[in-house]
């Protein structure tokens, strides 16, 4: 809805979502951090890094930050900044892919489940309950056991974890929207169910889903980092923040920068998506507005 009526009954234009988001402090900060990360990730994708991220400079192992290596080097003499940049590309690629898959699948399942209702809804939700009974990291590990390790498999593993969450988030609003009069009207004029769902139900249930996307991105970042930290996600020498943190174990006493920078990268990334999610919730879903 882009227009509303003011007290005099005249139509006034409501500020766009972006403008309202920028007005909220947390939303604006979140957006800035996310844009920064996406930019860094694109740099990594285009291979614009000071050094190739897996290139070893044996003579310069475990160097502290200097003008030659801005953030120092690791135990193989690889440039930390280059690895951090490429790591953002990998971490964000995993996070975005997971959310794209689980968001689409989960929304379809949740919407279909609520719209069809009855036994189908019951069965689908019981199936989702089964997935909820596993701690996220354990469920992801179970999928890794079946599929094996690697970047694409990590994506599937995390997508499996978040699909039920999207299904639940999508289901709620559909239950109330499908009882609305305009849906009954659409049915009465003989509109096809698929058309009703995609053109009338879904657009009116998007707000909580968009908020969920932002929050799921932050969780996916955390889960990927966790899996990679355990050695079951993205495989070295390919960098990711989790891989880098895991590699810093045992030598962080002599080279603390190896732990600090990837740690900060994860924290700031997660914080950015969390703040953006909170900001979006305030803007898009006034009912869910947090108490300030």
């Amino acid at each position: 809805m882009s227009a509303r009526s003011d007290s005099a009954g005249e139509l006034v234009k409501e500020p766009s979502v972006l403008r309202r988001l920028l007005r909220s402090r947390s939303g604006a900060l979140g957006l800035v951090i996310v844009v920064f990360y996406v930019t860094v990730a694109v740099l990594g994708l285009l291979q614009i890094t000071p050094y190739p991220p897996t290139e070893q400079h044996r003579a310069d192992r475990l160097q502290g930050p200097s003008s030659q290596y801005y953030l120092g080097t690791d135990m193989f003499g690889r440039d930390l900044l280059s690895r951090l940049i490429k790591g953002s590309t990998n971490s964000l690629y995993v996070a975005f892919s997971c959310v794209a898959i689980s968001g689409t699948l989960g929304t379809l399942i949740g919407t279909a489940s609520a719209y069809i209702g009855g036994t189908f809804d019951n069965v689908m939700m019981r199936i989702m309950d089964v997935f909820f009974a596993f701690p996220a990291i354990l469920l992801a590990l179970l999928v890794v056991v079946i599929l094996g390790r690697g970047l694409d498999k990590t994506i599937i593993a995390i997508a499996v974890v978040y699909t039920p969450i999207f299904a639940r988030v999508a289901r709620g609003p559909v239950l109330s929207v499908k009882e609305m009069e305009y849906i009954t009207a659409a049915r009465c004029i003989g509109m096809h169910h698929r058309r009703i769902v995609f053109f009338h139900v879904l657009p009116n249930t998007l707000a909580p889903l968009i908020v969920q996307v932002s929050l799921a991105l932050s969780w996916s970042l955390l889960t990927e980092a966790g899996l990679s930290f355990l050695g079951l996600g993205i495989q070295p020498p390919e960098p990711s923040w989790g891989v880098m943190l895991s590699e810093s174990q045992g030598i962080s006493e002599i080279a603390p920068w190896l732990m600090i920078y990837p740690g900060l990268a994860i924290m700031l990334g997660v914080l950015g998506f969390n703040l953006l999610g909170d900001g979006l919730r305030d803007v898009l879903d006034p009912r869910m507005k947090r108490l300030r």
Binding site: D129, L138, L141, L142, V144, S218, L245, L271
Partner: protein
């Protein structure tokens, strides 16, 4: 109450059935045949006859559905299978490790609730003050920092600045030497506790803000009760419900073993047991442990539901017909 309990028990049966089915199917989906996955590289040394007799012994020559039901009937009798790697029954292994996980879970929950509820309450009572700002900052940091980062930082700080190595040495049982045991478990518990305190803090703060705006709080203030009595006697108790839900879910997860933290601090709990089983491809153990963890989770959630009635007298499970 008993009737409600019975209803809840019946309601969780489909979920438990689904969990068992999922775990069973997941292990069957692992590439390669079951004997190889069970024995690992040693399977290469088997002759055809040995392989066939092993398949018959484990019932692998039967149809899949029959395999599921015979596995399930064994599970219901407490037989979760046999770990070839450890040379012990899976249930024995799990029960050996469970006390460690339980102790860690309870201790971290206590830490999280103590930090979370006190800062959250203070944040709400002194709304928009410096304390509130500090509380919100701590919560945001706690939410954004993964527990393996907090753990790594803690180990770094302790070893570099205090000369303590929290992840070194063999694990000592509580019954053996309580003091040494606590010394080993306190740091992982702090790691998990701080991680989780962030969500407790946020939940407490928003629940308290909501409660503090209610009429009965104003009435309590109006009739001259001391502020402390209003907050602890009226507000906190009413704000507890969402916190109990959160704590219940978290306890369920923690009892599943904090995989990463147990690994960082070298604690022999369920999480590390499962993780090692995964890297050693010990499928009997993976199957048993995941089943145990998921069952735990469902049962804890049911118990939390029952706890609501104890906290909030308005919730009654007795039907009023």
């Amino acid at each position: 109450m008993l009737r409600y309990l019975a209803q809840r028990l019946v309601a969780v049966i489909p979920t438990l059935f689904g969990i068992s089915l999922l775990v069973f199917i997941a292990i069957r989906l692992v590439p390669g045949d079951a004997i190889t996955t069970m024995l690992g590289t040693e399977a290469g040394m088997l002759t055809e006859t040995q392989r066939a007799s092993l398949e018959a012994y484990f019932g692998l020559d039967k149809p899949v559905i029959e395999q599921y039901f015979s596995w399930m009937s064994r599970v219901l009798q407490g037989d979760l299978g046999y770990s070839v790697r450890h040379g012990k029954p899976v249930l024995t292994l799990i029960l050996e490790r469970f006390p460690v996980t339980l102790e860690l879970a309870l201790l971290s929950l206590i830490i999280a609730l103590t930090i979370g509820i006190s800062i959250g309450t203070l944040s709400a009572v002194r709304h928009n003050s410096m304390i509130d700002l500090f509380g919100r900052l701590v919560a945001l940091t706690g939410l954004a920092a993964p527990n393996f980062l907090i753990g790594t930082l803690l180990i770094y700080t302790l070893s570099v600045y205090f000369g303590i190595l929290p992840n070194a040495g063999d694990y000592t049982d509580f019954t053996e030497n309580p003091l040494k045991n606590l010394g080993q478990i306190i740091f992982p518990a702090l790691t998990l506790g701080f991680s989780f305190s962030a969500s407790v803090m946020r939940t407490t703060r928003s629940a308290m803000l909501e409660v503090l705006g209610q009429d009965y709080i104003r009435t309590a203030h109006g009739k001259g009760l001391r502020p402390r009595a209003v907050i602890f006697g009226h507000a906190v108790r009413n704000a507890l419900i969402p916190i109990v839900t959160l704590a219940g879910v978290e306890l369920g997860y923690l009892l599943g073993g904090a995989v990463i933290v147990e690994k960082i601090f070298a604690l022999p709990g369920i999480g590390r047991l499962t993780l090692n089983a995964i890297s050693q491809r010990d499928y009997a153990l993976i199957q048993g442990a995941t089943l145990f963890i998921a069952f735990n989770f469902v049962v804890i959630n049911m118990l939390v539901d029952l706890l609501y009635a104890a906290i909030d007298p308005r919730i009654s499970y007795v039907s009023k017909k």
